[in-house]
Symmetry: C2
């Protein structure tokens, strides 16, 4: 796919090119949420986006590459963070947000598909890691504030704490099939807060 020259979409990024990208990414998201990533046919995506099949194959070429682009698009759409004044309150708000996203039929299926695609291709995996680095980074300040307030020991790794909130929810979604309700979210937040207070997420050495 990547030929000698530059790939399409860079030298002339104006009107039509951008419209095509939007339509294709939206169609890809819909198709992924409906059928999952293995059943994703680029011809079908082209049809949904009302775009030539050739265009999709030329600009993206494979499912993982298309998914990686979708992830970059998703990372750009940042969500507002709520501030409650306490660590547990903030982490619970985050946990509820994640839980509601994953429990939602379309969004949950989309996340599953995207994560599955990342297991098949290194570049897609990098895009997924970048996506989570972005999302986790958006919530890290609430941990930093907790350190400043004296709720947490100094040296606590904010990213580590935020990741600890999401982990059990994703583990349920992907592995065990456990319930993804508000109670699960609250438990995840409380557990992360307890571990952080116990100093288990203090950076050692570096």
């Amino acid at each position: 796919m990547a030929l000698g020259g530059v790939e399409p979409g860079h030298t002339r990024p104006g009107g039509r090119t951008a419209r095509v990208r939007d339509a294709v990414l939206r169609a890809a998201g819909d198709a992924l949420a409906e059928h999952g990533m293995d059943a994703l046919d680029l011809g079908d995506v082209a049809r949904r986006a009302q775009v030539g099949k050739t265009t999709v194959y030329r600009r993206w070429g494979t499912v993982p590459i298309l998914v990686a682009d979708l992830l970059r698009d998703m990372a750009d759409q940042s969500l507002p963070r709520t501030e409650t004044g306490s660590l547990l309150g903030d982490l619970t708000a985050n946990a509820r947000l994640v839980q509601e996203t994953l429990a939602d039929a379309r969004q949950g299926a989309l996340f599953k598909a995207v994560i599955a695609a990342a297991t098949c291709d290194a570049a897609t995996a990098r895009a997924l890691h970048a996506f989570y680095a972005t999302r986790v980074g958006e919530w890290a300040p609430c941990v930093e504030q907790a350190v400043d307030r004296g709720e947490l020991p100094p040296g606590t790794d904010p990213h580590e704490v935020v990741r600890a909130v999401s982990a059990p929810l994703y583990y349920s979604l992907l592995c065990t099939g456990g319930a993804l309700d508000a109670a699960a979210a609250d438990r995840a937040a409380a557990a992360a807060a307890a571990a952080a207070r116990a100093g288990l997420h203090v950076r050692s050495g570096d």
Copy 2:
């Protein structure tokens, strides 16, 4: 694929049929670990297993179905549980086992592929949930013993605690790409123990 009659492998489960199943499942595991689940070609599996392509398509038919059978096979191979006498020791032993498995090149890739396949097919997802229910159940007794010793509050859900150990490790493997080293395992175990001691995994109501 599932025709009116019975599917192959049930009415005559003796020698050859069993040998074919073993060879195909081993070949499927190898192929999954090498290429990931989207690049899995049943014809290639048949070649590796030195078995007719027709046989693989007749008995399994699709990638998710084959993966589901592989999962049943994996669940049967149970691992011995080490007992250290303390909750933290036992959970750390479990965390190290999971961490080493996921960090191993072949095993880690295989788990990724299997989880990806489960996102594409409901029956495969059920097989995956059953696999984790089995594995988690094998380690639940160490939590029960901790309750008996008085280390944990009565009513603590053993499965919940064991799942809490694995969650951050799988989250690193699948989503964030975080390090999967012994330190990560120890942190996961310590965090789960802290949350359990704080009574966060006590069954409420039911």
